[in-house]
């Protein structure tokens, strides 16, 4: 029986981490269905979707993970996900949008914007935030979000709610559809 799992790892970035993790997967005959890795100020984070031809193989993972944790000083999490959960995930029809926020840094920007998006049933698929010009008198906060907006959502309502919030937070918010070419 096929089995699937999610593996995550975080820790200090070092050359060779990805090779070490993928080496273990390869040895166990496990397939890498998808992965996403990023670095932030020298910190490494990766999330992997794994599939195992046999559920038994998966049991060998924990021992290997413990070894990797010691060798690389990473923090892993490993969790089986029922195969049905991947296949039957109901995908509401949606369109991609980007939301950019630029402004003088103050607490609560991320929280207020993400709460509003959740209330509007907009799903966040990618988040990138940075402080630029740190050390200067007025650090500037930038946030780039990728969003999945349900097709049934009212774009102008989202637009006007965001505008209100932008005024209140004194930041600039740009909300725009991603024009996906298809051919």
């Amino acid at each position: 029986m096929e089995a699937k799992a999610v593996l995550t790892a975080v820790g200090k970035d070092q050359t060779g981490i990805v090779a070490a993790v993928s080496g273990v997967l390869y040895e166990l005959g496990c397939n890498l269905e998808g992965s996403s890795m990023t670095l932030l100020q020298g910190e490494f984070a990766i999330i992997l979707i794994l599939s195992f031809p046999e559920r038994d193989v998966m049991k060998k993972m924990q021992g290997r993970i413990n070894k990797l944790e010691k060798e690389w000083g990473l923090l892993f999490s490993f969790r089986e996900v029922p195969v049905e959960d991947f296949e039957s995930t109901p995908k509401t029809e949606s369109n991609p949008y980007t939301l950019n926020v630029v402004g003088v840094d103050h607490s609560g920007i991320v929280h207020r914007i993400t709460v509003l998006l959740a209330d509007l049933k907009v799903n966040i698929t990618n988040v990138n935030t940075r402080l630029i010009g740190e050390g200067r008198q007025v650090p500037v906060y930038v946030m780039f979000l990728e969003l999945d907006v349900p097709v049934i959502a009212d774009e102008s309502e989202i637009q006007s709610e965001l505008r209100k919030l932008a005024d209140e937070l004194r930041v600039d918010i740009t909300f725009a559809p991603v024009d996906v070419f298809k051919g």
């Binding site: 024009d179 996906v180 051919g183």
Partner: protein, 163 residues
């Protein structure tokens, strides 16, 4: 008219270099009509190249007129034996492909292009365009040379920050 089967990667036809069209006959025009119907059968599709249906000839169609945000828009165009003569600027946009379902990625393309070719009767045509329509021409042009957008993806999603 008929909707043709669209070839899906890794079908080798998608990696082939297409042949120059020399006969501008009814067979070519009938094929172009079928190609058109195939393109319109996919919601949101704004371009299609002959090799995507297994016909290895230098012909593609582009029609961005149904995208209200496309500023530069020549309506439905069939281009035979096209050559991009000028490219200017560079911008990144999100692309997907009928032959690579369920995946989109960010691709860098020229912002403005000047393209020459022939119509379905062999008459010379030239198009100068920008933005979304220019992306369409460049994506379809690549298909004629066995290049798919995956070869040109810079990043699957946001990649604004230098790491």
């Amino acid at each position: 008219m008929a909707v043709l089967d669209v070839r899906i990667y890794p079908d080798p036809v998608l990696r082939s270099i297409c042949a120059t069209v020399t006969e501008f006959d009814n067979r070519l025009r009938t094929f172009a009509q079928n190609l058109e119907e195939t393109m319109y059968s996919f919601p949101g599709c704004v371009g299609i190249a002959a090799p995507q249906t297994g016909e290895l000839i230098r012909l593609f169609l582009v029609d961005v007129s149904r995208r209200k945000k496309a500023k530069f828009n020549h309506g439905l165009m069939a281009l035979v034996n096209p050559v991009i003569l000028e490219k200017e600027g560079e911008s990144v946009s999100r692309e997907g492909c009928l032959s690579v379902p369920e995946f989109t990625g960010n691709v860098s393309r020229a912002t403005r292009i000047f393209i020459e070719g022939q119509d379905l009767n062999g008459e010379p045509i030239a198009v100068q365009t920008e933005g979304f329509e220019a992306v369409a021409f460049q994506h379809e042009m690549d298909h004629l040379d066995g290049i798919i957008f995956l070869d040109r993806v810079r990043s699957s999603g946001t990649d604004i920050f230098r790491r």
